[in-house]
């Protein structure tokens, strides 16, 4: 039987080739970053962006010595790296997808390289800085 093949008269046959996406890598980082952002960022912003600059809590809590001391331990440096870099992987993932939401469909590959490249660059940047600070 060979009816004219319209969409409504079909025998179901699907033999598509399926291509695996590499999104899980980015989604994993996105999820971890998002989790961290959800739990920590509000308080971080409150402390570093408002309470300290406005003098609502004592500045000494975030003075050079204290931060330097913290950053120079290996675990302190590690924590700082995570606190600063991980949210970036979260946010750039979102920004990458938002470009699509806004209808910017051209050059998705380049958009991807730029977005995740940026997150990578910032991570490396912070990492090397911290390497210099850490006194092992």
């Amino acid at each position: 039987m060979t009816p004219k093949q319209t969409d409504k008269t079909r025998a179901t046959q699907h033999s598509k080739q399926y291509v695996r996406s590499h999104e899980p890598v980015f989604w994993g980082l996105f999820g971890a970053g998002g989790m961290l952002t959800a739990f920590l960022t509000p308080m971080m912003v409150l402390i570093t962006g408002l309470l300290i600059p406005l003098g609502l809590i004592n500045k000494t809590h975030l003075n050079y010595e204290k931060v330097q001391a913290f950053a120079s331990t290996w675990y302190g440096a590690g924590i700082l790296l995570i606190l600063i870099a991980l949210p970036i992987w979260h946010t750039l993932h979102r920004i990458f997808h938002s470009l699509h939401d806004l209808g910017i469909k051209r050059g998705r590959d380049w958009q991807q390289v730029i977005c995740y490249g940026f997150a990578f660059a910032v991570s490396v940047f912070v990492f090397t800085l911290l390497l210099q600070i850490v006194t092992l």
Binding site: T37, T48, L54, I88, L92, I133
Partner: protein, 129 residues
């Protein structure tokens, strides 16, 4: 001959302004711009930290500028909004069953909020020490 002529409506790039739900979604996604900038400010702080005390103090005092204060205020609100949406969607990614019954959404959400408050207070305490 077929007289069909299906009409395809185009999605405009302003689609997200057409319904509140979508607008809030875009705000949620848009929060990432501010949080990105915030991370950059912190990265910049680390740069200054590596350059010595004077540089770091200069960074700290820049943060007192009204523009930065305003920026951080907005970022705080957006970050909180991110947290709220994150927590409210959390149950969807949870696949836990207790005695054959799925864990209630309410339990998961409340758990997240309690965690949030505890962690926030802990941060404050650590900084204050």
């Amino acid at each position: 001959m077929s007289k069909r002529k299906p009409y395809q409506r185009e999605v405009q790039s302003t689609w997200w302004l057409k319904s509140k739900f979508y607008t809030f979604y875009m705000i949620r996604e848009g929060s990432s711009i501010f949080i990105t900038l915030y991370s950059l400010i912190l990265a910049w702080g680390i740069l200054r930290l590596s350059q010595g005390e004077a540089a770091f103090d200069a960074w700290l005092s820049v943060l007192q500028h009204p523009v930065f204060i305003l920026f951080h205020l907005i970022t705080l609100i957006l970050a909180l909004y991110h947290s709220i949406t994150w927590f409210s969607l959390a149950p969807k990614a949870v696949d836990l069953y207790i005695k054959g019954k799925p864990l209630a959404d309410k339990v998961i959400i409340t758990g997240h909020y309690i965690g949030f408050i505890v962690i926030s207070l802990l941060c404050l305490v650590i900084v204050m020490l």
